[in-house]
């Protein structure tokens, strides 16, 4: 508060105020603050500009020409609503993300519980293999999938099914990492107690373990959804044509050759949908986490969770 009052008093001398603020040895490191703010601006402003041009009245993506919903709704041929390719891309992205969440989360939860409690060399190798999927460059995985579906598992045709298999495979490890962290901190005591009280193995998991895992399961669902929406390489390698192109594939295909603000509109819609679903997931996660009696800064914990899943 004192700095605020001081700044109000010194209002006529802005330069001196900035100098004092900069030289204050008791505050935060000023240079780092400035650097971080500049980084955040550099990171976010280009996106905001791209979103602004999706609302452009004219065709330009660099000159502001009024505001309109032309590229979302009104343009009879080129808007997201009327261009079948753009609409198909949005649908395909959402479809793949939904399949990925619905299959990967149960598969990953079972894998995480099994691999965490199962002691043995095989469990160790299985864990190493799943971590390997995390560090394998996507182009390597894309090539591997493309070749396996065109030369060996030929009954799986390129297109939605192949893309879904790809998305499930690379997102499995994220569920594993998030769930494993929680499982290690819970420890085996609860399900052992349940077993001692007469529960079967599955009952012990369902009644003792799963309720404690709900926040982690919700969090892993958000992460899987976000990385599936973000994926470009696997979706492109396994696409069978424009009907199975996702939004990122569409952006790649027309970003340099025939771009209109409709592409910005498509990207903006995808962004809004991703953030909306992530937000719903995040709120759900906060509620279940609160009802389970965990506390602390939720955003900070969620960020750490996200970082863990990257690491």
């Amino acid at each position: 508060m004192t700095t605020l009052e001081a700044s109000v008093k010194q209002a006529p001398r802005p330069l001196a105020r900035i100098r004092d603020w900069w030289a204050n040895p008791w505050g935060k490191p000023r240079f780092l603050v400035l650097f971080t703010l500049l980084y955040l601006a550099w990171s976010i402003v280009p996106i905001l500009i791209a979103i602004r041009f999706s609302f452009n009245e004219g065709r330009s993506r660099s000159t502001a020409q009024g505001w309109s919903l032309r590229w979302y709704l009104d343009d009879p041929d080129l808007s997201v609503r009327h261009d079948p390719d753009l609409r198909a891309a949005l649908f395909q992205s959402l479809q793949l993300a939904a399949i990925a969440v619905l299959v990967t989360v149960p598969l990953g939860v079972a894998l995480a519980i099994g691999l965490t409690r199962w002691r043995g060399r095989v469990a160790g190798s299985a864990r190493a293999i799943s971590l390997l999927t995390l560090v394998t460059p996507e182009i390597v995985m894309g090539t591997a999938f493309l070749l396996v579906f065109t030369h060996l598992l030929r009954f799986i045709e390129l297109g939605t099914v192949a893309q879904a298999i790809g998305h499930i495979t690379f997102s499995l490890v994220f569920v594993l990492i998030i769930l494993r962290g929680r499982l290690l901190s819970i420890g085996p005591e609860y399900e052992e107690a349940a077993r001692d009280l007469g529960a079967s193995g599955l009952q012990a998991i369902r009644l003792a373990l799963l309720p404690m895992l709900v926040p982690a399961i919700v969090a892993s669902g958000i992460v899987v959804f976000a990385i599936s929406m973000d994926d470009f390489v696997i979706s492109q390698f396994l696409s069978s044509g424009t009907t199975t192109d996702t939004v990122p594939v569409r952006i790649y295909g027309t970003g340099r050759t025939a771009p209109t603000p409709a592409l910005n509109a498509l990207a903006t819609l995808t962004l809004i949908l991703t953030i909306a679903i992530a937000l719903v997931g995040f709120l759900l996660w906060r509620v279940v986490r609160a009802t389970r009696g965990q506390s602390g800064s939720t955003v900070a914990e969620f960020a750490t969770l996200d970082a863990e899943s990257v690491r």
Binding site: A128, S130, V148, D230, F232, P248
Partner: protein
Amino acid sequence: MPEPKRRRVGSGNAFWAGLALPGVAWLCLFFLLPFYVILCVALGTVDPIFQTPAPEWNPLAWNTAAFEFVFESLFTSGAAFQTVFLRTFLYVAIATALSLLIAYPVAYLVARHGGRWKSLLLLGLIAPFFISYLMRMLAWINLLQDDGWVNDVLIWVGILDAPRNWLDGRASSVIIGLIYGYVPFMILPLYAFLDRIDRSLLEAARDLGASPMQAFRLVTLPLSMPAILAGIVIIALPMFGDYYTPDLLASSPNTSMIGNQIYLYIRGGQQIPVGAALVVVLMLFLAVLMGYYLVSTARAQRRLGG
């Protein structure tokens, strides 16, 4: 009646293995098996009429023609693959080094001095994770166009006299694009690590007479070395396989990276075995980085008691 405790432990292990089985089977079928197929295609032949690859499933009959082609181009100075490999290495090295210079201070500030703004700052750091990489590149295509805002600003400031075409194959555009695309993936793990450093160690250093800079140089920096290495590996690995950033921000053979070559051979349809051999060579080249990552993760997990 059998002794209940022993039976529970014994059957328990099989029970856990059964739970893990679907996931493990999935990984074997859709991750390990495809790698074997890459090998079989790279070491197979090409159908003489249709030019489609004919994978060789039997390791005893493997044919090394594609690898010979790749290695010859790789080890002849000035040949195509060597130029591309060296260029990729250079781009990734510069982009990773600059990313670290950006990521460390930002992660440090948020972890150490975030204060009551921490949640908001973290939100800003997580935001790129929810924005498609391709959309972030699209944003830069918009800005870097001939009549884009970058040119407008540079001309207004007086650095440029006339608009410059930033998207016609400039290494600088590609490297900036790579940094912009990957730096968030480095900041978050660095943040998570720096946030966990025990502050009493720093207080001890200050009590023993170290200046803030010395405390940073002698305590924080050495402690954060594993996180720095992990951050480097996390962004360098995907960069080595990137083909879309140079395609979107340069689309010129002058800036083509290994990923572009692989894409050309695999998706172009001609000489798919050469593309598969390139993938294998890339994997072998990256094995050191990947191995480091796996070992350090295993070590960290053991520390956590996993």
